[in-house]
Amino acid sequence: MNATISFDSVLHVVLALVGVAVFVGLNGLLLVYAERKVAGFIQRRPGPYEVGPQGILQAVADALKLIGKQLVRPDRADPLLFWMAPVLAFFPVLLLFLPLPFSPLLTGWDVNLGLLLILAFAGFNVLALLLAGWGSNNKYGLLGAARAVAQSVAYEIPLLLAVLAIAFQEGTLSLSSIVATQGSMPWQWNIAVQPLAFLIFLISALGETNRAPFDLPEAESELTAGFHTEYSGMGFGMFFLAEYANMIVACSVCTVLFLGGWKGPFLDGAWWFLAKVYALLLAMMWFRWTFPRVRFDQLLNLNWRWLLPLGVLNLLATAFVMKL
């Protein structure tokens, strides 16, 4: 990284942030629509089809509804913590998009510690969930927040172990270098070398983003809505958008680390990156509409008994092979 920070590089980052905000907003709309259509397809019903042709404006209608709704803060909830939580859930996610290499030319901020930056800022999410549950003076919220913290802290470790295996192998934390070292063909991607790390990463990413079957912090049949029980309007909307943004980040990192990023058998470019990200997102939606929810002790057992030991073994094996 360049030690001197020039006006140009600051401008570049600001422009990138604006671009990312637009990208996240548009993708939020797209994913809401996709999720509902996928759910409809899996459940053998049409899904949204009233608002606009084939219901493509449904997400816009949803967004307008959320913006138009009154923001309600429960009596005796802490106003500062209560309103800080949704903001804190959403805005740090935008930073996570900065180091993502969409293509060799389309990278917000090609920093050589990109992976570390993402892992560090992803930790903000759990703080936001904790504040939301704690600040809303609601017992369901509190239980949801407690679950969120235990789950996030637990699943960060195998996630890190899986990422470290790739970092060891590539000898770099720069995301664009990691992509550059992978080949164009699927068997030249890291997934072929590190299938176990890929599996651990994918499962941990589901846990980190609170997606079904690990959506325990908001398990609606147990905790009504968990940490966001008391949020209305855009308070809820921010959490919602943050969840989708986190999903995109998790899938993007997965694409970069394991699936060769922007590279494909022909015509390398951002479209390959996006296609892989959306394929992973679709898989996540598929899981959500297919599986029941696990119980909390099972969730943690899966992590401590399986993912963590396997992650450590994988890392040791990687280190051993690298040394040879």
Binding site: A219, L223, R293, F296
Partner: protein
């Protein structure tokens, strides 16, 4: 007395706390009922009010929970949010006027309640029923049982966090409702049984529809098993959760799939045979595991057994009247005396007891709802389990709150 101020300051309106001049415990302060729910020995426990508006209490059940972390120290179901005085209404209406109420006691297995009441009246008044009507009652009641079990299946998986099965269940249930609509004229709150028969005769369309439906549902059941029952997450969630030993079943008087899931082969259709059930070849599914999965498997097996009964009944459906020619007019008077009639509902033993003093209306009617006894064991069964397990246990009891409150 109740100005806006006194209502707002909840602690002072708490009767249990008035002695020391205010409810010191902010958690327990609530409505009058919660105030009497005393905190247990552990001061750090959390009192959680689950319901009456909660996604997994199926209607308006309220469960007061004392939690230690997410472990349940104590659970107490609170009833009465849907009490509609059905038993009192029975005392001021003649039997024919009271019939529609029976479709609304348990809206998911309305025809079993129809049958229990009609049976008790027929027994008391000595009314005969033509054979064809008996068969039609069996067919419609078993169809209704399947629709109840299908709905339970979907809703239970919704409780466990799987969103999709209920859509598939409703798909099949829709066909059942169409069939029952042909026969009874309504889709949910049926009241088509009459004293001395059934209201309408089976049309050829109905008979043909039933013949088509039986193989259709049979072909769907393996898919349900493969997609849902064998899912590892589901099995881990409900196997060995909510173990109900047989002695607990007898102590609380539980019946239906709850009893049969604990290995007690009690089914009113076998134990106290009524109507023409003794003519059909079917099994009473039981499981020895005693857990939520056992109750799940019992209900899934019951769907298959009901299909067997329907198949045999539709094949041997006798010709004849659907109403007995000597069936009484709707305004008939019940003779003095009392009678009791029990049938097997989707949730267990449904009993109706009628006492009459010879007047226009019965003197007293007592409705025995299986859900009430089944729910009663929840408090004991849920102790020491996790909050998520409590949802799994509550769902496995298959409650219909209107039936429990009556």
């Amino acid at each position: 007395m109740h100005s806006a101020d006194t209502l707002r300051s909840r602690p002072t309106s708490c009767p249990a706390a008035s002695a020391d001049g205010g409810c010191a415990d902010d958690q327990i302060a609530g409505d009058g009922y919660t105030c009497r729910f005393e905190r247990g020995a552990r001061p750090e426990s959390l009192i959680l009010n689950m319901g009456p508006q909660h996604p997994s209490t199926h209607g308006v059940l309220r469960v007061l929970l004392e939690l230690d972390g997410e472990y349940i120290v104590r659970a107490e179901p609170v009833l009465g949010y849907l009490h509609r005085m059905h038993e009192k209404m029975a005392e001021v209406k003649n039997p024919a006027q009271f019939m529609p109420n029976m479709g609304r006691v348990d809206y998911l297995h309305a025809l079993a309640w129809n049958w229990a009441y009609v049976g008790a009246v027929e027994k008391l008044a000595g009314i005969e029923i033509p054979e064809r009507a008996e068969y039609l009652r069996v067919i419609t009641c078993e169809l209704n049982r399947i629709s109840s079990h299908l709905l339970w299946w979907g809703a239970y998986l919704l409780d466990l966090g799987a969103f999709t099965p209920i859509m598939y269940a409703f798909d099949d249930r829709e066909m059942l409702l169409d069939l029952l609509q042909l026969m009874t004229g309504s889709r949910l709150t049926y009241s088509s049984f009459r004293f001395g028969g059934v209201y309408t005769d089976a049309s050829p369309a109905f008979v043909q529809g039933v013949r088509q439906f039986v193989p259709h549902l049979r072909s769907r059941l393996p898919m349900y098993t493969a997609l849902v029952t064998e899912n590892i997450i589901l099995r881990r969630r409900i196997e060995e959760v909510g173990v109900i030993p047989p002695d607990m079943v007898t102590r609380y008087g539980a019946s239906g799939p709850v009893a049969r899931g604990s290995g007690i082969a009690y089914d009113v259709r076998r134990a106290e045979p009524y109507s023409v059930y003794d003519r059909f070849d079917y099994e009473i599914p039981t499981r020895a595991e005693q857990c939520s999965m056992a109750r799940y498997m019992v209900r899934m097996a019951e769907i298959e057994q009901s299909l067997r009964i329907i198949e045999q009944a539709i094949d041997s459906l006798p010709e004849g009247e659907h109403m007995h020619p000597k069936a009484p007019k709707p305004s008939f008077k019940l003779p003095a005396g009392e009678s009791y009639f029990a049938v097997e509902g989707a949730r267990g033993k449904i009993g109706v007891w009628i006492a009459s003093d010879g007047g226009k209306t019965p003197y007293r009617v007592k409705l025995r709802a299986p859900g009430f006894s089944n729910l009663a064991l929840f408090a004991e069964c849920a102790r020491g389990t996790l909050l998520a397990d409590a949802v799994a246990i509550l769902g496995s009891l298959d409650m219909v709150i209107p039936e429990i409150d009556r």
